[in-house]
Symmetry: C2
Subunit: 346 residues, 2 copies
DNA sequence: TCAAAGAATGAACACGTTTTCATTTCTCGT
DNA sequence: ACGAGAAATGAAAACGTGTTCATTCTTTGA
């Protein structure tokens, strides 16, 4: 009766809640799980006492018996990358709303998969895995992570599908790049650009391959000569140097399509500060991603956008659907892209 | 003897490894825990078989009995913020090397603490919590997270300590801002700046308060008049607008000290593109943080830096030390700052 | 009013590991 | 060769929960 047991010292357990509520421990478990039969007033009482005692079910114990950790592993080479960090942010919010948590892992940046990391991550028993890594087959992930749902990010589907889907059924998130890229090329063409260069991303990247392929096709369809390629790696510094080389050593260009926004920033800075060229008067620039910095006044970048929130929602939909239907055939979600016009073409 | 059981279907368990290695299940546990007595060749055999079977101990089960989840909760309002994302990146790397994993949570951006989030996070039983949030007392965190080690980030110690440490003993990471800020003011003074303005961060932020306080004191010590304050909130857009107001409505300035680098970017862009002023000829700008973008040519920002890797190492040191000595008095780590000179002062 | 169906309840088990603890085996100095 | 101490070993307990199953209580329909 006395409140001498105010400080239960350590985490409260279901047992303590049950004792204080004069119910069985099972009732406490039921109170926290919907779709279980428990008299409403009893559930209410239990939840109230639980709150008093600062009790929430231990997810480790829950995971052990139910097989659901409610953890989603996210593998990323570089959290600081603008695009990745924005996606991680949106993803964490969305997962949190569904009762999941984001488990973050860093891997090497060379676009290969780190098997040691996979083994390490497996120990945490994630319900699903999102890998910001390319060049790793779903099969490889599946071999390491048994019950998880591997989903590729950065695995875009070009305008025309290039490879047969022979792989075992896996969920896919497709990004149709053609519309946005076509709008960009149309705009460049409209402003008189003829010699369009492509600033690539990392060489082995499939996202880069798909973007370059789509660009080539779109340009061919519009009767333009194939683009000159300057080799970057999605980073600012590589783009900066590649642009200098393109104009000092190479043949130059009157428009540059960058594989991503950060690369476009490097292009713009190299043009303006190193080569003393004006953007957009002398050279026009288009990016890809529409990250938050793209509207900053120093760049004010015209870029191909796909809606990040929409993308993340689709991703979470895929995950939840898969967890509820473990044996269903591969689900697919598809997103489109569009051009955001700002000040670097004109 | 046959290999018909190639696919154990589902995660391998210690039991399976034990059976195949002809040892007890306990031996398997020992093989994976150093500092336990197990004959070397037996340990080797077990680890080999474990690898064949793709086995790693289930951390949920391990956490349940050992009380160590090996999870570190990270609460952050906005993953995309440049500074935060860079710290999360370094932190994840460092924790991973120590056998921990980063559990990411998003909270509100208004610098208040979300109690619902804390209760949610508690369920995952993190061993420690790092909160990129201000204005939350260690006591509040401790009340929600029982055995966790709360550590404040963004809880800087001004040059002169302002408040007594009455709070229960908690670990602290101090950032001495005085040296870097003094170097910055000296440089500005050397180039003839007289009317130095301060572009603030969020109003309720303690980090902002500490920076502003230190700046005031440093300027007073150097015989300068107190800075005019333009109110920002650490964001690019707020800084952009505040700078315009400072010159259009307010009294202007010949140097601006920004509370963070991203704010400095907004200041620079507003000066150059909106107010048609030159940086650094007309107005000099100094930032704080030295994020990766600060060396980009469009900004090339002179800024006060504290070494991020050093900071993260100190943080991880604090966490590990605390986990090994749960009842020791509060540990402290201290970092210094210094000025990185680039092109926005001169 | 009665039987049947459904809701509510708690005992026992299961999940995969670490940790005790008691027992057995090894090593070493004499 | 012998005893003592250390190292190695496995049985059993523990961690905190969800789930199954059998039982009791309540409602419903005629």
């Amino acid at each position: 009766m006395t409140d001498s047991d105010q400080l239960p010292r350590g985490r409260a357990t279901a047992e303590m809640v049950a004792a204080r509520a004069q119910v069985s421990r099972v009732a406490v478990s039921r109170a926290f799980n919907p779709h279980t039969s428990l008299k409403p007033e009893k559930r209410e009482l239990i939840l109230k006492i639980a709150q008093e005692l600062n009790y929430t079910p231990d997810r480790a114990a829950r995971a052990l018996v139910s097989g659901r950790s409610h953890l989603v592993g996210v593998i990323v080479p570089d959290v600081c990358s603008h695009w990745e960090s924005q996606e991680i942010d949106a993803l964490t919010t969305a997962l949190q709303a569904e009762g999941f948590a984001t488990l973050l892992f860093k891997t090497r940046t060379d676009y290969s998969m780190d098997e040691q990391l996979l083994a390490y991550m497996r120990g945490f028993n994630p319900d699903s895995v999102i890998a910001f890594v390319e060049n790793v087959k779903p099969h490889t992930l599946a071999r390491f992570l048994d019950r998880a749902v591997p989903i590729y990010v950065h695995y875009p589907l070009p305008g025309v599908s290039t490879e047969p889907e022979n792989e075992p059924l896996h969920d896919r998130l497709n990004v149709l790049q053609r519309d946005g890229i076509d709008q960009a090329v149309a705009l460049l063409q409209g402003f008189g650009a003829r010699r369009i260069a492509y600033l690539s991303g990392a060489e082995k990247s499939r996202a880069n391959g798909a973007r370059e392929g789509t660009l080539r096709q779109v340009m061919a369809d519009r009767g333009l000569a194939p683009p000159v390629v300057a080799r970057g790696d999605f980073s600012y510094d590589a783009a900066y140097q590649a642009t200098i080389d393109l104009f000092r050593v190479g043949e130059g260009a009157d428009a540059i399509f960058a594989a991503n926004d950060v690369g476009a920033f490097g292009v713009i800075d190299a043009l303006r500060h190193e080569l003393k060229l004006r953007v957009p008067e002398d050279v026009k620039v288009v990016g890809f991603d529409d990250i938050a910095q793209s509207h900053w006044k120093s760049y004010n970048l015209t870029t191909v956008k796909f809606d990040l929130d929409e993308r993340v929602r689709a991703l979470v939909r895929l995950i939840l659907r898969r967890l509820n239907n473990p044996d269903a055939p591969g689900f697919q979600e598809t997103l489109n892209t569009r051009l955001v016009v700002r000040g670097t073409v004109g």
